[in-house]
């Protein structure tokens, strides 16, 4: 496989093409609805992540695309071809599982060659592809090892190499880093991003880890109860959540129910307090999505701001996270660079400023 041939660039012509299309997928397991009329287009070359808690239907949707699970109704199209009735082996896909799934009785090279042997490729081509794949995952010395001799991270990288060796239309990754410890996870996430870039393959990733999803993906589909709540790029998922669920699920957040007063140019909080900001909304009742980086604390006693009480100060390697409580009882978190400031002590008073330019909002409740 020529690795330089097809690099994915967001916004490129390739990305406009639809690689995989799920149309009106419905799937029930007894009383549980795993997919409630899901439609999803995966663009050619993109890294799309299905994000949600366990039981939200993300793995089922992936298994349906893989052909490992039948649909109750709906259709799956790969490269424009309807594959709904086809078995997994006829769909030309790749998959990396959460469990280590290398074939234990075969060497690393035999594992990578498996899909190629099934397709009756010549020995020379197989050997060449195996070398290329080992190079791609940067484990060229492990060729003759057995899976049992590899670490967890190595096994998953070889599984990735095996899945990519057959040049699948779509590579599916079902929480492949779930069994690894945090540091290794971080390393492999960066590796995964690089491999996605270098292989040019379309990736469909499943995870419940929102940091992982935002870090890796071109687009993220946040799922709940068999439905996609929002499908957007990571920045918009984080800054412009479509609804309360998405806002709450992704990132550290406080949802402030408040009234926007266009006359005074600010928001009035329930339970008292006024914060000046200019919003382009035509409603009075809004919910503010306040992230820790949107909240700036100032010493009490001077000027405007929301009076609050400091409840916790935690230094987190480079940043400080202060937790404060408003008179209404709402809890805000504020993240600032550097070590804790002596101005804010536990139980002391402070003033919170909401940096409106970065505060997003969602519209709910009566107009």
């Amino acid at each position: 496989m020529s690795l330089s041939a097809a690099k994915s660039q967001p916004g490129s012509a390739r990305m406009d093409k639809i690689k995989v299309s799920a149309r009106n997928i419905v799937k029930r397991f007894g009383a549980t609805i795993a997919a409630a009329d899901i439609s999803l287009d995966i663009r050619d070359g993109e890294f799309l992540t299905l994000l949600g808690e366990s039981g939200c239907g993300k793995t089922t949707l992936m298994r349906i695309i893989a052909g490992l699970e039948a649909v109750d109704s709906g259709a799956i199209l790969i490269d424009g071809r309807d594959v709904t009735a086809l078995s997994p082996r006829e769909r030309n896909l790749g998959m990396v599982f959460q469990q280590y799934s290398l074939f234990p009785h075969m060497s690393v090279a035999e594992n990578i060659a498996y899909g190629l042997r099934v397709k009756h490729k010549g020995e020379a081509e197989i050997s060449k592809t195996v070398d290329e794949m080992l190079e791609l995952v940067r484990l060229p010395d492990l060729r003759e090892r057995r899976p049992a001799q590899l670490s967890g991270g190595q096994q998953q990288r070889i599984a990735l190499a095996r899945a990519l060796a057959t040049r699948p239309s779509l590579l599916m990754l079902d929480e492949p880093l779930g069994a690894l410890d945090l540091k290794l996870r971080r390393q492999l996430q960066a590796e995964l991003k690089r491999i996605h870039r270098e292989s040019g393959t379309t990736f469909l990733f499943v995870t419940h880890d929102q940091d992982e999803a935002l870090f890796l993906s071109d687009r993220v589909a946040v799922m709940r109860a068999g439905q996609i709540e929002q499908l957007d790029d990571p920045t918009r998922i984080y800054c412009n959540p479509a609804n309360r669920f998405v806002a709450d699920f992704v990132g550290d957040v406080t949802l402030l129910d408040c009234e926007y007063d266009a006359m005074r140019g600010g928001i009035a909080l329930e339970g008292g307090g006024f914060a000046p900001m200019t919003l382009d909304v035509d409603r009075r009742c809004i919910t503010l999505v306040v992230r820790p980086e949107n909240v700036r604390l100032a010493p009490a006693g001077g000027g405007e701001g929301l009076a609050c009480k400091v409840e916790d100060v935690a230094y987190q390697a480079g940043t400080t996270l202060c937790t404060v409580r408003l008179p209404s009882g709402a809890v805000l978190k504020s993240r600032g660079l550097g070590a804790p400031s002596p101005d804010f002590v536990l139980g002391g008073e402070a003033l919170a400023h909401l940096d409106d330019c970065r505060v997003a909002f969602i519209r709910e409740g009566p107009a």
Binding site: G94, F103, V118, T166
Partner: protein, 268 residues
């Protein structure tokens, strides 16, 4: 002397007693087979191989021995061929009463006393003319050894990992290819231990063999029994010694490959 050392010595004595209990009868037979007298003496007197020659010359053992080995091989093969699909089908069933019932039924020949199986086969084989025929004998032995293979294979099948099978399918392999390259290799430990166990059980099977044969299809245990019925000399000890050596060789092989732990056989 400390308490721990007392316990250690006691444990050693107990272990020695158990080993002695197991090995002394074998030792007696082995010593008897090399005796130069036709009756048992202790300590053994003299050394001769004449009973081995006599066993060979009598022609009462070679035919049955060959038959026993062929029978053990074929009945094991049949049991293997039935066990693999049976165990794989059990895997797909939901755990429940039906599955438990079928599993129990499959283990039936292990639970029902050989005497009952023998009588049952005697009645039914007589009706269809299978008594004292090799096919009849083979059917009986396949029945007896099936549970041993099935249990061992089921253990391997239960440990079979679905995501390996899924991975194979997604890589483009058909069900047969997956069976050959992924499923079967995963079943090898269970198959090997089950097959060896079945082979020994068949070789050793006396009761059922006695019921379903008369004179034509005598197997080794039955031939030994019939010889003992006529004469009691060290010829039988010589034949037994050969069997003991054979059995030990098989045991060493099983142990070498680490298949012993698969002999337990649980459906998890």
């Amino acid at each position: 002397m400390s308490e721990a050392r007392t316990w250690n010595s006691l444990r050693a004595v107990a272990a020695a007693a158990v080993y002695g209990f197991l090995i002394i009868p074998l030792l007696v037979v082995v010593l008897f087979s090399f005796s130069d007298k036709s009756f048992f003496t202790f300590p053994p007197s003299g050394f001769s191989l004449k009973w081995y020659q006599a066993a060979w010359a009598s022609e009462r053992f070679l035919g049955p021995a060959v038959r026993s080995v062929v029978l053990a091989l074929l009945s094991t093969l049949i049991a293997v061929i039935i066990s693999v699909p049976a165990a794989l089908a059990m895997r797909k069933m939901h755990p429940g009463r039906l599955r438990a019932a079928i599993e129990f039924l499959f283990l039936g020949p292990l639970i029902v006393p050989a005497l009952i199986v023998g009588i049952a086969l005697l009645y039914s084989f007589t009706k269809v003319g299978l008594i004292d025929t090799f096919p009849g004998l083979l059917a009986a032995h396949a029945l007896i050894v099936f549970p041993f293979v099935f249990r061992a294979v089921l253990t391997s099948v239960v440990n079979l990992q679905q995501h390996l099978i899924d991975a194979s399918a997604i890589l483009g392999a058909g069900p047969l290819y997956t069976f050959r390259r992924i499923v079967l290799p995963a079943l090898v430990p269970g198959l090997a231990s089950g097959a060896i166990f079945a082979f020994i059980v068949s070789l050793d099977q006396f009761t059922v063999s006695l019921f379903v044969t008369q004179t034509e299809q005598a197997v080794l245990p039955v031939a030994i029994y019939k010889y003992l019925y006529d004469v009691n000399d060290p010829v039988v000890a010589a034949v037994s010694t050969v069997l003991v050596v054979f059995g030990l060789a098989v045991a060493v092989v099983i142990d070498r490959f680490g298949w012993l732990r698969h002999l337990g056989g649980t459906s998890g």
